[in-house]
């Protein structure tokens, strides 16, 4: 059914403070999860990683009612979406995760390190995960990217190159000491340490 041409998109509104039952029950409410913070499936190939951190507001206070969503390629740089016309994955890795922050503004995702994804000119982008941030007090979600420290490809990444050098570190998850591949990525919504957000 063809509708009449709309006069514009539906505006965004805040996710509000009460989304948890519907969007992030995560065992705290009895509704089932459509998505959670563990993206790894039994047949997923690639380096297992954990990304964890906290979300802070402009006063440096933690944001305990935030929702985070991530979207990423698999270890070979392929998206689990038929719109990615390249060879599709043969695994059940979906590449999408969602979590609500805890009382300390904390979050964690268990996933795999994504592979190299080309930019529109076919140039390689450094491994990265796309991030969307939602919360009470945010009328429209924010987009950012999570990159990984120690990646040689960061130096030539076309998106990181758009970011002033002194703010680039806000986009780079830092590897934590220890044997497990744990990366820390804090999100600052505002202020001196403000995370770089993209206008997409």
């Amino acid at each position: 059914m063809q509708q009449t041409r709309p006069d514009g998109i539906t505006p965004s509104q805040t996710v509000g403070p009460y989304f948890a039952y519907g969007l992030t029950p995560n065992g705290k409410y009895d509704w089932n999860d459509a998505f959670n913070n563990n993206l790894v499936t039994s047949d997923t190939s690639g380096e297992r990683i954990r990304i964890e951190g906290q979300v802070f507001d402009g006063d440096g206070a933690v944001v305990p009612d935030c929702m985070l969503e991530i979207w990423q390629a698999d270890a070979q740089g392929r998206f689990s979406d038929p719109q990615d016309k390249r060879a599709l994955t043969n695994t059940s890795f979906k590449g999408f995760g969602r979590i609500g922050t805890d009382a300390k503004g904390g979050y964690a995702f268990d996933t795999i390190k994504p592979g190299i994804v080309p930019d529109p000119d076919g140039k390689p982008q450094a491994p990265h995960i796309v991030l969307a941030v939602y919360a009470r007090g945010m009328l429209l979600h924010l987009y950012s990217r999570i990159y990984f420290d120690g990646e040689a490809a960061n130096a030539a990444d076309p998106v990181l190159a758009l970011v002033p050098a002194d703010r680039r570190t806000t986009l780079i998850a830092t590897r934590q000491p220890g044997g497990n591949a744990v990366y820390r990525f804090d999100i600052h919504l505002q202020g001196d340490k403000e995370t770089v957000f993209f206008d997409v």
Binding site: M1, Q2, Q3, R5, P6, D7, G8, I9, T10, P11, S12, Q13, T14, G16, P17, F19, A20, Y21, G22, L23, P25, Y29, N32, A34, G58, A61, V63, W71, A73, F79, S80, D81, P82, Q83, K94, F96, V117, D119, P120, Q125, H128, A132, R136, G137, M138, L139, L140, R145, V159, L162, L189, Q190, G191, E194, T195, V196, F197, F198, D199, V200
Partner: protein, 233 residues
């Protein structure tokens, strides 16, 4: 289908800093956002399996042991792109307060009763034409702490995915003729009146079920239009 996502469309959205809605003051970025070209990472998005939506997830009146209290309603419409084409097979999530204006949430301390037969969460997938349909209870207005005597107009929260990560939308559906509209800083954060009105559902007598439930239509328009040589974005 190959879609383009003109950034001009984003003008319909509210500014992130809307001081009348006080929580935006410390939760909106103070530095300019950095424009970038969309890459495959932005132009793709999640695909969900059939297991994501269960049989009664679209009907919030049958999820409890008994019937919830309140005015039963049907909320339906199409998920569309900017050219008016239906967005097929996309996940539509919904959450809302009960008929008394109370959410199932540890933080909601509004002294209105919870309804043991109503949790306020629903989920469905649009069909091949982009059509979706929910059965639910009309939510009540509720007070909040933004300013003296602040009340949210009755609303239903929607979360929709669309074709890609940049078509992602979280919004609120309002009901026509709500007397609280002029006083609500969240509704009025959308400065353009036409855009604001796109968040208001319309009463749908044609699809109202006699002796059973009123119907409201709410079309959800996501970013994205077909790339043609005529479009200069």
């Amino acid at each position: 289908m190959t879609l383009v996502y003109p950034v001009q469309s984003l003008a319909a959205h509210p500014p992130r800093l809307s001081p009348a809605y006080k929580s935006t003051v410390k939760r909106s970025p103070s530095k300019p956002l950095i424009p970038m070209r969309h890459t495959l990472s932005e132009l793709t998005g999640p695909v969900y399996g059939h297991e994501t939506v269960r049989e009664n997830d679209h009907d919030l009146t049958v999820q409890g042991k008994g019937e919830p209290i309140g005015e039963r309603i049907i909320v339906h419409g199409h998920v569309l792109d900017e050219d008016g084409r239906g967005v097929p097979n996309t996940l539509v999530e919904l959450w809302q307060a009960n008929s008394c204006g109370r959410y199932v949430h540890v933080v909601d301390q509004h002294p209105a009763p919870l309804d043991p037969n109503f949790t306020g969460a629903g989920r469905t997938q649009s069909d091949a034409q982009g059509y979706y349909r929910f059965v639910t209870i009309k939510p009540g207005a509720y007070p909040w702490g933004n300013h003296h005597n602040a009340w949210r107009p009755a609303h239903i929260h929607f979360s929709v995915f669309g074709h890609s990560f940049v078509s992602r939308l979280v919004t609120q559906m309002y009901f026509p003729g709500d007397p609280l509209f002029p006083f609500d800083p969240i509704f009025n954060s959308v400065t353009d009146e036409k855009a604001r009105n796109r968040m208001i559902s319309s009463f749908d007598l044609e699809n109202t079920k006699p002796d059973w439930a009123l119907c409201y239509r709410f079309n959800i328009v996501l970013r994205g239009r077909n790339a043609t040589p005529m479009e200069n974005s």
